[in-house]
Amino acid sequence: MSRSEEDVLDAIERRRRRPHVKLMDQQITLAHGAGGKSSHTLIEMVFRRAFTNPALDALGDSALLQVEGTAPRLAFTTDASVVKPRFFPGGDIGELAVNGTVNDLAMAGARPLWLSASFILEEGLATAELERIAQSMAGAAARAGVAIVTGDTKVVERGKADGLYITTAGVGVHERDIVLAPEQVRSGDKVIVSGTLGDHGMAIMVARGELELETDLRSDTASVNELTAALLDATDEVRWLRDPTRGGLATVLAELALATELAVDLDEAALPIRPEVHGACEILGIDPLYVANEGKLVAVVGPAGVEAALAALRGHPLGGDAAVVGELREDPTAPGMVLLNTAFGGNRVVDMLAGDPLPRIC
């Protein structure tokens, strides 16, 4: 008895929703760090299983915490940076380490306040380079209005780390009377991105020097807490926020679609993508929807707040290219799926990243 195409597609959708039961991989591969399906399985099957608690299980960019009897709530997060190369057009590993943590706090709707910084240094690293990275972290922290208040240093033998790795953690306060979560998202809400997509990932690819491409691509690494505050001040219609880092816009929207059981309709012609990013992606056969951003946010906004949201984003130096790129919609034929209307006039599915086209980008 042969299955119909409909049956097969139903089976795939059931499988996408099935909770993971075990980690099939015998060892860690680079795919586990790429932010796609393998990363998700690893987090679910190893870390969440071991550490489970309500704050973690919400699986937001930051954990939201409250000490009993006190207000306001705290947001708490952490982020490790292992990017290669350590210096790249538009930034360096230090700036990335600060901005990554600040942005995770901002995506929870919190005001970032304090950061920690742990350094794993490789024997032989030039102290001048470390000083330069520390200075750039200080600059990024000052721009974001946060203080690096504690830290740790370890040194490992030559060959055991790529110069240095930096882990930051951050604490912020959540003072707004707003809930940002998939449960808030409704059919008819719009998807807004704050600017051009894929700049960071492609800048790193080119900076590695393996492609012999000459471009003016720069990473977009930046703290978006001020931009986020401007957005949240402008409208209370914001339902959900994410920074589309590893796995890109496609991966965060695929997660949102699954969590809401709504369809996300994306409009290819509306996606803001720099011509040079588009060009580099074409040459390499990479889809910019999956390429990492380090200074952008994705917001789901109720229709009544879209104009105000766009105006607020575009009024900020980091949001000049903000655009509505899609809509959430009830669709019984595509629940929990992201669909892209191609500029060509066709339509396709956009799923989570599988495999690892771009290792070590942050």
Partner: protein
């Protein structure tokens, strides 16, 4: 990206689609095979099928270079990669292809020095930079990539770089097309010919398709509009009762191909008597190996490889997918046991593989309810 955008215009596409629909005879079905994996990728990525009338079906052929490499060759590659003196260089897609005991990515995680490169010349550079190591390049692909392998080989010889070798798995498209045409399972009405391969071999080698099999072929480019126009050319030929080799991709492809590239290939490689293709089995004179005088750079000569024929996993139906006999979703394990993150077969690994393209881009197509006919 002006150059690319011109070939993706939704406005122009709509007009071509109307012309195609106008040529379709009601009640007649048209089955066209695109031979190249690049076409399969474009078709799904841009939703080209959405613009075609229901009478036209696009069938995906054996043109994905990653997909056609049989499991035994992947085992051989991993055996070479595991040698401690070797730096094994490969295109990214090949790293994820499952072999009998894991993939190259798994071998890398276990300590093998496997590195992704974008060109064989990058592999040669790694050899130059690591004179105390042996650098091997996993050479795969149709006539599209063969010239760059040939040029790399010529350069290695000119520079006298001997810590470099090639594991050659280059295949040729014509015997595969002939094998498809001789297979009884398929009733095709025409071919969308591979654009990149044809920049090298030209359009003459396809003449047997019209002469011996009375079928039209339109060599087409890789932008969605190219493919749509290729379909239009096929439909027009059928409507006019012709079966000819036509060239949609004339901005790049010449009738005689690229003589310089062909010369570089002839200088460095020769036909194998036979070669195993995944799904299609052994096809005589369908692949290339290094010429004997270049044996120093031939990894198959330098290393003791298992060279064992390994059957595909029982559940895997990549072979039938590659021949166009079944659609990706008709495979028993498609989308359930075999997914892009845990592939069983090659067609689910490469972005040019029909299964990966359908899974990643096209799988909503089967659910879409057709637009209700407009009532005037």
């Amino acid at each position: 990206m002006k150059f690319v955008d011109e070939f993706r215009s939704g406005e122009v596409a709509k007009r071509v689609a109307e012309q195609i629909a106008g040529l379709a005879e009601p009640g007649r079905n048209y089955k066209f095979m695109e031979v190249c994996g690049g076409h399969t990728h474009t078709i799904y990525k841009h939703g080209v099928e959405d613009l075609l009338p229901p009478e036209i079906e696009l069938v995906h052929g054996p043109g994905c270079p990653v997909c056609v490499i049989p499991m035994g060759r992947q085992d051989d590659a991993i055996a070479i990669a595991k040698r401690p003196e070797v730096i094994f260089t490969t295109f990214g897609d090949m790293m994820r292809v499952p072999a009998s005991q894991g993939s190259l990515l798994d071998a890398k995680a276990s300590g093998a020095d496997v590195r992704m490169v974008y060109s064989p010349l990058d592999a040669l550079r790694i050899a130059r930079e690591n004179p105390d190591r042996e650098v091997v390049f996993f050479a795969i692909g149709f006539e599209t990539t063969t010239p760059s392998t040939a040029v790399t080989l010529l350069r290695a010889r000119a520079e006298g770089i001997t810590n470099f070798s090639l594991f050659a798995n280059h295949v040729t498209i014509i015997p595969a097309i002939r094998s498809i045409l001789d297979s009884p399972d398929l009733r095709l009405n025409g071919f969308i010919g591979p654009g990149h391969v044809s920049t090298v071999i030209g359009t003459r080698p396809y003449e047997f398709i019209s002469r011996d099999y009375d079928l039209p072929i339109a060599v087409s480019g890789f932008e969605p509009l190219d493919i749509l126009q290729g379909v239009y050319m096929l439909m027009r030929q059928l409507a006019e009762g012709r079966s000819e080799v036509e060239n949609q991709y004339s901005r790049v492809v010449r009738e005689e191909g690229n003589p310089l590239a062909l010369k570089a290939i002839a200088e460095t490689m020769e036909l194998r008597t036979t070669f195993e293709w995944r799904g299609l089995g052994f096809i005589s004179q369908s692949a290339l190996k290094l010429r004997d005088e270049l044996a120093v750079w031939d990894a198959e000569v330098r290393y003791d490889i298992p060279g064992v024929r390994v059957a595909d996993p029982k559940a895997c139906q990549c072979g039938e997918v590659l021949k166009g006999v079944i659609k990706p979703w008709q495979c028993k394990v498609f989308g359930t046991s075999c997914t892009p993150d845990r592939p069983i077969g090659t067609c689910m690994v490469s972005s040019e593989g029909a299964c990966a393209a359908y899974y990643n881009y096209g799988r909503h197509a089967g659910r879409r309810t057709p637009e209700p006919a407009s009532v005037a």
